[in-house]
Amino acid sequence: MLRAFAVEIVIYAALVTAYFFAVLHFLGGWLVQLETRHIRVYAAVALLLIIGQAVALEAVTTGLLRLLRGGRSE
């Protein structure tokens, strides 16, 4: 269980590092402009982004956990 969790953390950390560099690279500039010019749109986009990320990361962690547990039992 602990080993599966450690493996999950390592895979997850690699995915997350790649993910947030991509987010900062592709969305950073756009979000800054949105925040200064259309604050209401920025507020709505900010909420959608955090909820979207929550759902996506939950799916990733659940999938990883299932994959690792499945791999272990085989």
């Binding site: 925040e35 920025y42 982004l49 955090i50 990320q53 759902v55 990361l57 939950e58």
Partner: protein
């Protein structure tokens, strides 16, 4: 790493670790963890207004993950959560208005500090008394074993006589909550939610430190369901708070997204851990959290240094 919205230089690893720790606390206790997240962001030089707004945005994401996990475990009473969200938003607005009143009177810092210390210490003191008394009674009757055998969700409480008396107040309309096993007046649910919202608007954060215990002791909701339902309710109230703060320019969503990557895994870990603990033990473990909040307030009061 430079975050252009808040103009702050912060290590993303620090943000992920803070997010992870708060995620574990949130998943296990059903609290937003703002009393730790706010000072932790302030500690690395993020302005207070950004710390509060960004923390609320990150709480939304973390609560989505933890509530989803609790829902899978059968720990979310959707009907109760939706009703409570209405009362919470109303209370939060009144709390924010009260802040404005004390701001105009020029004593907002003193009043908020004293009220928060009294509430934090009061909650901790009461929960120490109740959960240790319940655990002692459970040991005698071996009830804890029975409770765990039923899935650990129908827990005992030394305060249950008062809770049952409150449930007997038949002020219509009565609301049946089959998932929680409770039938109670709508007005009592709204009152509990309103008080939680009032604390949130007046003292800041999601006020899970008062809502979760109130759901257990006043409404009689089993602890596991109170934790899950509180998280579901926090999604709605924190979304509202994050949106209003974002409009005021107080949210750096890039910081919130980075923090949330740690919180996502921490929240799942915390939520899964609740399966292995009986209700009174979760409540007893909850006790230090409001005390940490009280210690931070006392520190800022006497040192004059805002964390």
């Amino acid at each position: 790493m430079f975050f252009p919205i808040s103009h702050a230089h912060v290590s993303p690893i620090y943000l992920v670790i803070v997010g992870f720790l708060i995620g574990v606390l949130g998943g296990f206790f059903g609290v937003g963890g703002s009393f730790i997240a706010g000072p932790a962001l302030r500690l690395v030089g993020i302005d207070w207004n950004f710390a509060v707004g960004t923390d609320l945005a990150h709480i939304v994401g973390k609560s989505v993950v933890a509530a989803k996990r609790h829902r899978a475990l059968g720990n979310v009473d959707l009907r109760l959560g939706l009703i409570m969200a209405i009362g919470t938003i109303g209370g939060a607005e009144v709390g924010a208005q009260l802040i404005q009143v004390f701001k105009r009177a020029g004593n907002v810092n003193l009043v908020v500090s004293v009220v928060s210390i009294v509430i934090y210490v009061g909650i901790s003191g009461f929960m120490i008394w109740e959960s240790s008394k319940t655990l002692a009674q459970s040991k005698g009757r071996n009830a804890q074993k029975k409770s765990m055998a039923r899935g650990g969700k129908h827990d005992e409480s030394a305060f249950q006589n008062v809770t049952k008396a409150i449930q007997r107040w038949r002020i219509p309309p009565m609301i049946s909550l089959p998932q929680s096993g409770v039938t109670i007046s709508l007005w009592i649910i709204l009152l509990v939610a309103f008080v939680g919202g009032l604390c949130s608007g007046f003292l800041g954060g999601g006020a899970g430190y008062i809502r979760m215990p109130s759901m257990v002791y006043v409404l009689g909701i089993p602890t596991h369901l109170a934790v899950g339902t509180d998280l579901f309710e926090i999604i709605i109230s924190a979304s509202y708070g994050a949106f209003t703060h974002a409009i005021k320019g107080n949210v750096d969503i890039l910081i919130a997204l980075v923090m949330h990557t740690g919180a996502a895994i921490g929240a799942q870990l915390g939520a899964i851990s609740t399966q292995y603990f009986a209700g009174p033990k979760i409540r007893l473990a909850f006790v230090p959290l409001p005390l940490i909040g009280a210690a931070i307030v006392i520190y800022t009061m006497f040192s004059g240094h805002k964390l």
